[in-house]
Subunit: 432 residues, 2 copies
């Protein structure tokens, strides 16, 4: 027997002169921390190889034709800042299939021993790939049209406590909250169909209450029903919401997964899809591991999420101003710039960002200054924790959002608005 | 206006004398790294509260009755080792709904600013919760019955290169590989339905080839078709596999999400569900952030995964011997011990663990010593990278697994087995 020398097939992928082309390639940015004693360029090539045509050993079954057609090109290596940029041929992806994209660009490479830490920072998509998805059904304009609110930020609320109330108790809290001026009320993410709060009963009584409030206030209102669950059950619940005259469903994008989110969107029920993101921080929070929230936001917009939680900057949850701003700017972008390194999203409607988590009325001022008015601001404890209860809390929140939307300094704006004044006095020092 | 004092509702959850009860509670273990300047016990209570009935502020809408019924109890606080254990009432979960469980136990708590790092280490489930899931259709015994292999570990192979081959090229590689002695061949995780390899064409030609090989060898073979995609498409492809006479489908559990995995299982097609886990390392790899692979394995068994990738110990992917061993022991566990702190899985079939990633035949020896023979050992490059090609590689892999399954020292066992001998000579120093 002649002994062959063992060689890896993770080689030949670096080409710093390569010009990537978004018409036929994905451009993907990774942040790479090699394992000790591994060379940065070796690890970069293992990443490019393992996510495409390579494996740890030379392959007898890999032909030059396949290699030519499908091989990735690492066109940027920034060892100091630990970034690499890879162009992958479009043919490595199946159109319209987000789970396949995740297996391809966010899969096994995260488990390789030669990688200490790895983060999928950004993906720019070929237009053909983007256009294989439906995107949001309504988008920002559609949401504003349904609610008949043209300019200001939208006022949202989460029913609190998260769990424990019966359907009629929920409806009572919703009634006070809507009446106080809230546009959008949502289920909390833990609440689906529970022993103490049946989904269908909740939908029925809430929508009845909604009709009543709309008559009383002359305003349009929506309720966001949490359909998060197995895909069949989620679909059944979405259909029930529609049948009962509801307009919005909530899917927890990470807890459910994009397979089901895409499925629900493809049923074309015409409902607004509200994207909650419970659990995303498991893999988005650290700056050197997992995936960026920006990538998650891009996938959500492709999948068809009309409104997406992206961070509060100032609340109880993580998210720096720069990060949230970048994500929101992407989501709201109406037509893609023409740039060979930037995707063209012109056929996909924009997604409305949601700020949610630890917010109280006074924070609306800084929030809108940073993030603008194309935004849903959700108050949970910041309404239902108001010293005078949910109605007063809702009045305060609506006043705060209206004031901040026209650039009024809130403390001054609150002078002849007692609910807002009280909310500010109670919470102004709570930064969360 | 009387000014009320602001208080958090994240309080009153620690009770070190509390006796948890698995008949009506979940027992959940978190590893907690508080943010700087935060007290460990404050953070522990914020975690317990945010995942159940609490929020950052006192709530006017939270009644003592709700609090009594649904409040969590932190019954163990180990500040030194950074662990806490919480008992949560069963009523906080919806039966049969894994995405809801993830939003509840693996959700917003990971985003709280007062938490620096957090890891969901383990969940013990009330029996009523476990019994609301179907679990695997076939389990270990069912898989062995279909393949007619009683004792030894099963020999698997992934077609390589991962992507690029046409359906007929794939079938040719599969033919050689099965003929050489492999039991199970699978699509790689990046391969679904591609421009160069259509799913239905692949299923048809592969199953025809399978029939041919079964006749020639007198052995049973299976092919694992990757249906990963939007839930509707995945289901359609699963039905196609069944209609064409296939027996196994692969779902990428993280890339798809449990919503769709549960949906596919509930259709009761009678197919073996092969669980790949591309991307899990985004949140399982670090020991102080995200979720343990053990939890992911438990959720997979509930959802109905018959065979699950859990780690190789010795291959190119992450996973220590202790970790993989613990996970595999759980998956293979036939009847639960009666222990008030340990769940009773007696109504749910065991799941067969898969070792996959960077394996070559010589590694079968140490692998089986560590993990036992109720195991599928997958060789990709370790078969198709054999100096004499896929057939020789498959012969070597089958010999290695047969030898190692009866405890034979492989180098000696290889003396009159030339393919295995060559594989050992070629790769023996490659530890990956």
């Amino acid at each position: 027997m002649t002994k062959k020398k063992f060689t890896s097939s993770y080689v030949g992928f670096i080409d710093l002169k390569y010009k990537p082309n978004l018409r036929k390639e994905f451009i993907v940015t990774y942040r790479v921390q090699p394992a000790k004693s591994e060379k940065f360029t070796t690890v970069a090539q293992a990443i490019a190889g393992e996510s495409s045509i390579g494996t740890w050993t030379h392959l007898e079954t890999l032909s030059p034709a396949v290699k030519n057609k499908l091989q990735p090109h690492i066109f940027k290596v920034d060892q100091k800042r630990k970034f690499i940029k890879i162009a992958y041929p479009l043919a490595l992806a199946e159109l319209g299939n987000l789970p396949q994209l995740l297996s391809f660009l966010g899969g096994n490479i995260f488990s390789m021993k030669i990688v200490d830490k790895l983060r999928l920072e950004d993906i720019e998509f070929p237009k053909k790939y983007i256009d294989s998805f439906p995107g949001p059904h309504h988008g920002i304009k559609g949401i504003r049209k349904i609610l008949k609110v043209k300019q200001r930020a939208l006022v949202g609320s989460i029913i609190k406590p998260k769990v424990g109330l019966s359907p009629s108790q929920t409806a009572r809290v919703a009634y006070d909250t809507w009446r106080g001026g809230v546009d959008i009320i949502k289920d909390d993410e833990n609440l689906t169909s529970m022993s103490f709060n049946n989904f269908k009963k909740r939908v029925k009584i809430i929508l009845k209450t909604k009709g009543k409030v709309e008559k009383e206030t002359g305003e349009k209102k929506v309720f966001v029903f949490n359909i998060t669950g197995p895909a069949d059950l989620a679909f059944e619940r979405a259909k029930y919401v529609k049948k009962q005259g509801g307009k919005v469903i909530m899917v927890d994008i990470v807890a459910m997964g994009f397979s089901a989110v895409q499925f629900i969107r493809k049923q074309n029920l015409g409902l607004i899809m509200h994207g909650h993101r419970a659990g995303h921080s498991m893999f988005t929070k650290l700056t050197d591991q997992g995936m960026s929230m920006l990538v998650l936001a891009k996938l959500s917009r492709l999948a068809g999420i009309d409104q997406l939680h992206t961070g509060t900057v100032v609340g109880k949850m993580e998210g720096t101003a720069h990060e949230v701003d970048t994500i929101n700017d992407f989501l709201k972008e109406d037509a893609g710039e023409i740039d060979y390194l930037k995707s063209d999203w012109s056929n996909i409607k924009p997604t409305m960002p949601i700020a949610s988590g630890g917010l109280h009325p006074y924070l609306a001022e800084s929030l809108i200054k940073i993030l603008g008015t194309d935004l849903i601001i959700n108050f949970g404890g910041g309404i239902h924790g108001h010293p005078d209860g949910s109605y007063a809390g809702a009045v305060a929140a609506r006043n705060a959002v209206e004031g901040a939307s026209i650039g009024a300094p809130l403390k001054k704006y609150a002078r002849n608005r007692p609910e807002l004044k009280k909310a500010i006095e109670y919470w102004q020092d709570v930064k969360n």
